[in-house]
């Protein structure tokens, strides 16, 4: 029954965000569609939040362990950050990338339903678990949205024959880097409490370092890069995040990782 409810809500989110993308495209010609697009974004987000809440209740643990679970958080956080930014900056330029990314991750969750395990190993039963993973996913979401917004902005600027604007991607990259730094520090504090060492150069930690250093270099050089190259770099840098999140599990080094619980049991 929980599985049926989860699937229905995921389909609801996917439909809402598809409608949101369609309305956003229509809104480029007729602004009255903006309200509908915004309502669709909020509806989809509410569906996904309900999925996460129902999983949390039914599994009696935070649904933050496997790749499938983190994908759901990612889609939700991405749209949440996008909506907050829309409200704060009074911009609509992030809506299509935000809904597009959200829809992509929801579609993956629907296409590859995961067999969710209810157990949580002792090492993960810590008050650091939720803040560490949620802050990291917030960073990933902000940086994914930055890459999406950069691509969309580049496309729009070329179509409209105007200079590119980097205000939104730049703010997202800075926010994402701040979240990565917090996630990294929380992880070190947790590792100290669980194993007695701050940092082990575990494969996941090496990739986390690579991702953090990539964005450090990018933010320190944004003024010198120029606007077009900054947009391109934002997209390329996101590949390192994807490496840290997904690719690391496929590499020869993965078997030595203590972060193996992040891999889906299926």
């Amino acid at each position: 029954m929980i599985a049926d409810l989860t699937t229905s809500l995921l389909i609801g989110a996917a439909v809402a965000w598809t409608a949101g993308i369609a309305s956003s495209l229509l809104a480029t010609r007729a602004p009255r569609w903006h309200r509908l697009a915004q309502a669709c974004a909020v509806t989809g987000l509410a569906c996904l939040v309900a999925v996460i809440a129902s999983m949390w209740v039914s599994m009696q643990r935070p649904p933050l362990r496997t790749l499938g679970e983190t994908r759901l958080w990612y889609a939700s956080l991405l749209v949440l950050i996008g909506l907050l930014l829309e409200w704060r900056l009074r911009t609509r330029s992030i809506r299509i990338p935000m809904l597009g990314f959200g829809l992509l991750f929801t579609a993956i969750a629907l296409a590859r339903p995961e067999e969710f395990e209810h157990t949580l190993m002792p090492a993960l039963q810590s008050y650091w678990f939720v803040p560490h993973v949620v802050v990291y996913l917030t960073g990933y979401a902000a940086l994914g949205l930055a890459a999406g917004t950069a691509t969309w902005e580049y496309y729009l600027a070329r179509r409209e024959q105007r200079p590119v604007q980097i205000r939104v991607p730049r703010l997202l990259v800075r926010t994402g880097l701040a979240a990565l730094t917090c996630g990294l520090t929380f992880g070190a504090l947790w590792a100290k409490e669980a194993w007695g060492t701050w940092w082990n150069w575990d494969p996941k930690e090496i990739w986390a370092f690579l991702a953090w250093a990539t964005y450090l270099v990018l933010t320190h050089h944004e003024r010198r890069l120029g606007e077009q190259r900054f947009l391109l770099s934002t997209v390329l840098a996101f590949a390192v995040i994807l490496g840290c999140w997904f690719l690391v599990n496929l590499l020869p080094v993965a078997e030595t990782s203590v972060h193996q619980y992040a891999v889906s049991p299926t």
Binding site: Q60, H118, M121, L171, T181, W195, I206, L210, L251
Partner: protein, 401 residues
């Protein structure tokens, strides 16, 4: 806003990086077994901190001098970070240590994070952070978020490097009923130390999650919810209904039939009946995960799939210890994520047990750690976090402006 564009070009920063890291890499290749080990405290911290302090003072005294400005430039920071990243890439793909590919071992890059080139790149970053802080303070004044993030990171690097010579991490293996043990054997297998108290294991406790049932049909899996498996319990997996008839918490499988067997390492077994949504019985029989005392028992349920029982997984494990200190004996419980502090700077961490015996384990594996750099690293990490939050507030204000 201070910029460092006019001091060093990319080429100059890259040249310094290549010279320093390249020389260290050559030294590493010529002597592949070399690792960077600083002496124990206080000399370790002196060796790590004094150069950074000298760079800081120079930055305060001559902030506009071209070479020193270049040393604190963003260009050098980027080049040193890129050098660290390039060195880390092989370790991000292949295992390190003795499991590393032969090519990495031949050139001494199988312990890259303790290698000379990585230490050289880290030293460049430390110099750059120190100089950048000093120049910023002198030329612009106190910018809280900049100083907090950069100084926090510098403190973390210096104290981690400086304290590494005194850092000791080792294993204490305790057996129930054995006399107090205070010997720590370091992970390098060479060093050993004595704890400030003797440890005696009174009892080792392991609790399992309830075993989970899976109904497997082709690529489709259904997994049971977390619930107690008692006689009479009903479980729905997809459109299939399962009713528990009997539950043996510890058993051995003899000639395909589970029998109560309260020996170390024994696992539970479950007798169930399986029926479809119309109530028609599909199968009846025993389930067992398989282990040292018997093969796995699973239940084919026709088109509905095959019902299997997973081996129970550890939910919590803890050691009930008696700590023999100079001033008396104290009873404590040591658990994962809840370390215990001893005198003399020692911390104890519950890490493992005899996994073959599971809940019947009478052995507890404890990690003992002595980390004199703890306060420094913690202070640096907190400063870094404060700087990040401050930076977020500033970015938000700047953007609004």
């Amino acid at each position: 806003m201070i910029t460092t564009d006019d001091t060093w070009t990319w080429r100059q920063a890259a040249a310094l990086c290549v010279a320093v890291v390249g020389a260290a890499a050559l030294a590493q290749v010529s002597s592949p077994g070399t690792t960077v080990v600083l002496p124990a405290l206080p000399w370790g911290i002196v060796i790590a901190a004094i150069p950074a302090l000298i760079v800081f003072v120079i930055g305060l005294l001559w902030p506009r001098q071209a070479f020193f400005a270049g040393l604190g430039s963003v260009h050098l920071a980027a080049c040193a970070l890129v050098a660290c990243m390039i060195l880390a890439i092989p370790a991000a793909i292949w295992p390190q240590g003795t499991a590393a590919p032969e090519a990495l071992q031949r050139f001494g890059f199988h312990q890259v994070f303790e290698s000379l080139p990585f230490a050289a790149a880290a030293a460049l970053i430390a110099c750059n952070l120190s100089m950048a802080c000093a120049r910023r303070l002198r030329l612009i004044g106190f910018e809280p978020d900049f100083i907090a993030t950069h100084l926090g990171l510098l403190i973390v690097i210096i104290t981690a490097a400086g304290g590494s010579g005194s850092f000791l991490r080792g294993r204490v293996t305790l057996h129930e009923g054995a006399p107090p043990n205070a010997l720590v054997l370091a992970h390098d297998g060479i060093r050993s130390a004595h704890l400030s108290a003797g440890l005696q294991l009174d009892d080792f406790v392991l609790e399992y999650w309830e075993p989970e049932l899976r109904l497997v049909s082709g690529a489709t899996h259904h997994r049971s919810q977390r619930q107690a498996l008692e006689p009479g319990t009903k479980i729905a997996l997809g459109s299939t209904h399962i009713r528990v008839q009997r539950y043996l918490s510890l058993c051995a499988v003899v000639a395909g039939v589970p029998q109560a067997f309260g020996q170390p390492g024994a696992l539970p077994a479950l007798e169930v009946t399986v029926s479809d949504s119309q109530g028609k019985q599909l199968a009846q029989g025993w389930l067992h995960a398989g282990g040292p005392f018997g093969e796995a028992l699973y239940l084919p349920c026709g088109e509905a799939g095959t019902l299997v029982m997973e081996a129970p997984k550890a939910r919590r494990f803890a050691s009930h210890l008696r700590v023999h200190r100079a001033d008396g004996v104290e009873s404590v419980v040591l658990e994962v994520n809840q370390p215990l502090r001893l005198s003399g700077g020692w911390w104890l961490y519950q890490t493992g047990y005899d996994e073959k015996l599971g809940a019947a384990s009478r052995t507890s594996i404890i990690e003992a750690v002595r980390d004199p750099a703890y306060p420094g690293i913690m202070a640096g990490a907190l400063l870094l976090l404060l700087g990040v939050f401050g930076g977020l507030i500033r970015i938000s204000r700047e953007d609004q402006a």
